[in-house]
């Protein structure tokens, strides 16, 4: 217990050494989250974070990039819901177990790049991309998302 307390104190000290920032910042196409968020359950459900992009009259593919620190007590999948549709995978999706899921000790990090084609449900005008996912084996598995960013842009 003492070791854990010491580790937690050291993490707090290390993070405090970096400049403080707000909880989340977004301009629609870009999102930066600066707070831990825990999710529990089997795949797939919304992880709440979303970005939006405006499509021209002739639809073009969209690239979504998500980069996150995390802890996970079991294997997880991560994907996106396009315009409120079902959670789907548009590229790699696997998140391997790491850490205790309670914010203590190390986090791991991962970057995903997903491509959404017009035939995947894009529409002219505003399109919303919501992060989603869940555990692949145990419904009791927990994923703790740390600082993370999500970005979307149309291809040209």
């Amino acid at each position: 217990m003492r070791t854990l307390t010491t580790l937690l104190a050291m993490i707090v000290v290390s993070l405090a050494a970096m400049a403080p920032a707000a909880f989340a910042v977004s301009n629609g196409e870009l999102l930066r989250v600066e707070q831990n968020q825990a999710f529990q359950g089997a795949c797939c459900f919304s992880w709440l974070e979303h970005v939006t992009v405006t499509e021209p009259s002739t639809l073009v593919p969209v690239m979504v990039t998500w980069s996150a620190d995390y802890q996970a007590t079991g294997p997880f999948l991560a994907g996106i819901s396009v315009n409120g549709g079902p959670c789907k995978f548009f590229g790699s999706a696997s998140i391997q177990p790491f850490g205790k899921g309670d914010g203590s000790g190390d986090f791991d990090s991962h970057l995903f790049q997903w491509f959404v084609l017009p035939s995947d449900g894009l529409v002219k005008g505003k399109n919303t991309f919501t992060l989603c996912g869940g555990g692949t084996i145990s419904p009791s598995a927990v994923i703790l998302l740390g600082f993370n960013t999500m970005a979307v842009r149309t291809t040209k």
Partner: protein, 154 residues
């Protein structure tokens, strides 16, 4: 004899072209992108200090967000956090930043988003990778094949 001279000239031209192409391929473009293939043993201790890897962008009169991607091959070391110094300011996390001690020797990639309110200004803005050990003053990290890129958002 003239044929021999001509053949030598052609060979020399091909050699010069090959050297020129290879030199161009390994050159590091200035400004928004950086490629550093060298091995680095970073042993500055606990967070945070500069890693001396910098890119820059030129912002318009009304600054727009900047998206940066940092990728690195990690070999061994302590638990590290990596972030950015914007225009020489304090080392700050602009997204994920953990490189855990239990590493699998795979590349690590990060996407960082810097908004105008984070200190961007019209003209040239610099972004320097920084960080350090999470837990120990004696922490270190061995990295190689570093890429850092910055782009203005649309």
């Amino acid at each position: 004899m003239s044929n021999l001279v001509r053949q030598c000239a052609v060979c020399l031209a091909i050699l010069c072209f090959a050297i020129g192409v290879s030199t161009t391929a390994f050159a590091v473009p200035p400004g928004e992108v950086l490629y550093d293939p060298a091995f680095h043993d970073i042993s500055g201790g606990q967070c945070c200090f500069s890693f001396n890897e910098t890119v820059s962008v030129i912002e318009p009169a009304k600054p727009v967000p900047v998206v940066l991607t940092y990728e690195v091959s990690f070999f061994e070391g302590s638990s590290f956090i990596v972030g950015l110094m914007v225009n020489g300011g304090p080392c700050t996390l602009y997204g994920s930043g953990f490189i855990p001690r239990v590493a699998d020797n795979n590349p690590k990639a990060f996407q960082w988003i810097v908004f105008p309110a984070d200190g961007l200004r019209a003209g040239t803005n610099t972004f320097t990778v920084c960080g350090g050990s999470v837990f120990f003053n004696t922490g270190f990290i061995d990295i190689q094949q570093i890429t850092l890129a910055a782009r203005l958002s649309n």
